[in-house]
Structure formats: C-alpha cells, structure tokens
Amino acid sequence: MLVFAASDKGGTGRSVTSANLAYQRALTGDHVAYVDFDFGSPTAAAVFDVPGAMRGTEERGLHSYLEGETAEPVRIDVWRQTEHPLLRARPNQSGRLVLLPGDAGGGEFATGEEALERCVDLLLKLNTEFDVTFVDLSAGRSYAVDMVLAATAHPRMSNVPFRWLVFHRWTRQHVIAASGLVHGDHGIIGGGVLSGHDEDTLRAAVRFVRAAVPDPESAVWSQGSTAQATWMQARDEALRRLAAEHRIGDSVVLGIVPLEPILQWHEQLITEEDVLSTQIANKETLDALEEIARRLTDDTHWGRL
C-alpha cells in the first residue's frame, strides 16, 4: 500500500509524524519504505537520524532519479545506518525500514512526462518490495502532489492501493487551508479528477490527521484557571464545528496527535524508551501514533462517508 502524506502549510509536523508512522509500522513487522518527495526541503534524514548516510547523495537522491540522472536512487537502511542509539538495535521481528532521501541540496522543480514515468516505475518497484510505502510530499499544492496524483491515475498503477493522509494543525487558519487543499478548486480531489481519478474513490481514500492539538482534558492544562479551561473547551467546540462545515469533520479524521514538544522542537522518532525510561515524551503521543499507524490498513476507518 502507498500512503501519501500531504499538508496545507508548513509547520504541521507532517514529515516527523509520517516518519513516526513508518517507524511504528516497521515495529509491527511490516517492511516499510519512506520516500522523501518534499523536494523544496528534503530533511527526512534528520528525522531518522541518518545524516552520515547522506554524505555523497548530492547526485543520487530522488531529485536526480526523477530527472533521469541516476537509475537507482539511494536507499538508506535506517536500522543499520541511523545514529540514533536506540534505533540501531533493530527490534526483534521488526520489518525493514528504508529511507529514500532527496538529493542533499536539491530544490523544488517542475516535473514532466519522463519524470512521471520514472515516478510510476519507482512506486511500482517499492510496492512489490514493501508492505507500506510512505511518500512525504511538499506542503501545499506542489509539483510533488501533481506528480503523485498523475502517477496513481496511470494505467500501470491501477492495481496498486493508495491512501492519503492530510496533516493540519488545530487552528482556524489551518482547518480552512487543509479543507482548501483537499476540496478546493484546484485541490487534491479536483486535481485528481483532472488526472483521471474517480472522484468518489479518491475522496474515500483521503483522511485527515490533526496535529499538535492541545487536549483540554490533559494534565498539562489542569494547572490553569477555570476560565482558561472553559475557554479552551469552547474554542475546541468551535473548531470542530468549523472543521465539519469545511468537510473535514470528525468522521474523516484518522487520528489526533497531541501537542508534543519532542515532535515540535526536535523532530525525531518517539521510541518506547522516550516514554518509559527518560519520560521526555508523553505516553498519549505514542499511543496516538500507534493507533494511527494501525488504522492505516484498517478498512473500517476508510471508505465513503
């Protein structure tokens, strides 16, 4: 299965969250690939803590691959090449976790017919090898979004299942922007239909992940005043109504990731160790990530609504 990670704007934690989902799936025994199509700022190497492995990938990353300058984009085996001490001991029974980085120093670029064919080649190849392939896309309407919409509508890809995760923060601006990214005039659905997708099928394959959501019930806020708590409840309610009005209400939400400093500030993978021993991450965050990872392939959370 292919999972496309998109977001309306930067700062949603899309890359770090989808990297965590990839990590969680690998822990359960799936073979997982993580493809960095965030062409403008290819940074996945930092999340997986593999900066050393990025040396010498200036000309052999995904940019070069799509432009036809290399036939086989670099693959980084995360378990083997990570500098993260906890990840290096690959957990027993875990599946492969492989990162396909962009070129170090690559930039956003216009893609053409040939790049599209190569993109299809790559996604098909990954689909034969990996149980789940995460594709992290540049924020907003980008060449990357256009390319994968066209790729998944390509006749060669007609038997390859795919799903979209759209990440957004829990604010008025982000809710409106995320809805626009999906349902707007030139949004994912509209653009997808132009590329040859069936509108209903495509819509059924899109779910939202609310990121960096402060939980009013959480202990973190229990120190605040009653007035603050009431205000937070009310704002949360208002946002939910706004989301529903914009067709991104609770029924199409795959999961909610709590506000988590470790994701916001350090952009790293959250391990069980971070929760249990050092306690720098919240258990709720890890639980949320595990649950979203599980729901990715749980059909009861997908389909037409």
Binding site: H63, G68, E69, T70, A71, G107, F109
Partner: protein, 321 residues
Amino acid sequence: MTESVFSETAAEPRTQSVPLAHLSLELGHLYMEDFEAGPERLRAHFAEVRPWAEAARAAATARAGGKRPRISTCFLIDDYFTRFSTPAEVVPMLLAEAERAGLGVDYLARESGCAVTGKVPVAEAVAARIVESPPPGSYGLRPPAAQTGWLANGERSPVARAPQAMKRAVPWQPPHETAARRHSIFLDVELWSDDADGVRTWSCPFLAAVWQLARLGLLRNEGEALLAPQPHTAAGFPDKWDELPSLLRLNDRAAPFSAYRTCSVLPTRFLPVEHAVRVILDQIEADPAALEQVTDRSGREGMTVPPSVADRISYVYYAGH
C-alpha cells in the same frame, strides 16, 4: 545451451543465407517528377550513368584480381511517397531507355517493399536494430530523452529545461559530431513521422538505408531472408503497383541481387539523402549471423569486405538533377 542429444527447434536460432554477387550496381531511382518530365529525362539520366557504370565494373574487376566479377544491376521505383502511372506504362519505357544507353536492368524494386514486404514490417524491424553511437561519457545510463524518430551523428544541443528552484539554467551549447575532426558536421536525420491517426510514414533516407541492407544481403526477419527476388514470368507488367513483386528479376542469367558491396550512380541532388543513409547505416546492428555469412564467404573468395557496413556502400554522383 547444453550439449546433448535433446534439442528444441524454438530454442535454437538459425539464419537463412542468401546468394551473393561481388557488386550490386544501382542504375538509378525513379520518382514521380522524373516520370512526369518524360522519357527525355530518363534518356539523359542513363546517358550520364553509362560511363560511370563502366568505371564501376572496371573497379570491381580490379578488386577481383582481374577475374570476371559477379555484378548485378538494379533500379528502384518510388511507389511509396507518391503513386503515379502504372507498371504497365512505366516499366517498359524505363527498360527501353536503359537498353538504348546500353545498360541492362537485372532487378527492379519498388520502394514500398522496403517499408513492408508481404506481411513483414521490414522498416520497423530495421528500426529496432538501431544502436545509437554513444557520445563520450556514455557509461550505461539510459539517455534521459532519446528523440524518438530522429537519429543524429553526435550530441544535440541541450534542450533548455526548467531548472530546479534556485539553480541556474544551462546556457546554449552547440551540437557536436561524435566523429568530428576538430570541427563538427552535425546531422540529425528524421527517420519517420506519424500522422494524427498514428499512421507512420518512413523517411526517404531510412527506406534507402533498408534498400542498402537488402542489397548487402543483411536483411532478415526472424532469421528468414527478406526481399527475395521473384522471377518475371508474365508477358507484360500489371496495371497496379501492388501486383508487381517488391523485387523482380528481369534477367534470368543475372548474378545474385545481393552483393558484398554496392555502388549507386545518382545525380548530385541525392547527396544529402545518401549522407543521411550513411549516418543511419553506421548505427544499425545488422543481423550478426548474416554478417558472419558475408564475412566468411567473401573471405573465402579473397574479396574481404570492410568491417563496417557503411563502408561497403559507394556512390558516383554526376552533376545535375
């Protein structure tokens, strides 16, 4: 494959061989405009051809060490790009004018036979044998975008492409002939064009390259020889071009149609076409078994052929058109 008593026909390739003369001498091409210009045009053409045809015979005799060389003559009529008149009208006039000049035409060919013969898509099969000459720096990576339908003798100017954000676009660079001696003579040849319905028209130089391969005995389809000459048994010539065999033997005692080398006597207007033919032939991998047959037999006769196929063809150009 295993050396054993067991064998499977479909698992073992074989390649038919063809009879070979020493020289295939082409006495001309006929296009519609030549025909429309009347018999005088043909008469003038054959008058120009005759001394050069004799010179070609003399050269072949010298190459054969003074022995009598096997030489066959041929003539090509264009019925591919434009259809004009009928065989019944054209062929007798053509033969009469050749005879008047003292030239005998052994084989008559139709150009459309170089595109498709019977059910065999000859031109398509030859196109599949193109192996482009690699510019220096070709290390095995597929060229990003080969210009389909075109073949060059070197590297084209890079196409201006939108660069990655914040990278600089590449300035114009000249094309470069791979075999250039200091300066380039760059040639880019159109091999075919497709119309709106996807119907393909092969270019004149490409069909001429197929024609040369046929004359050199190097054309095969699934191992079978193509464009085998048909004897001329009927009294006259048909009213439709399609009823005329692609390659017709007019002289029963003629030397074989295909030969170790070819020579064509043509007016100078064909010069650009034939330059293009060389560019194409230089990048076609002829059937290896057919090549081997030619090399072996010419070697045994002491008439060694040049290794490169393009070097086996020659031309004489006379002034005019």
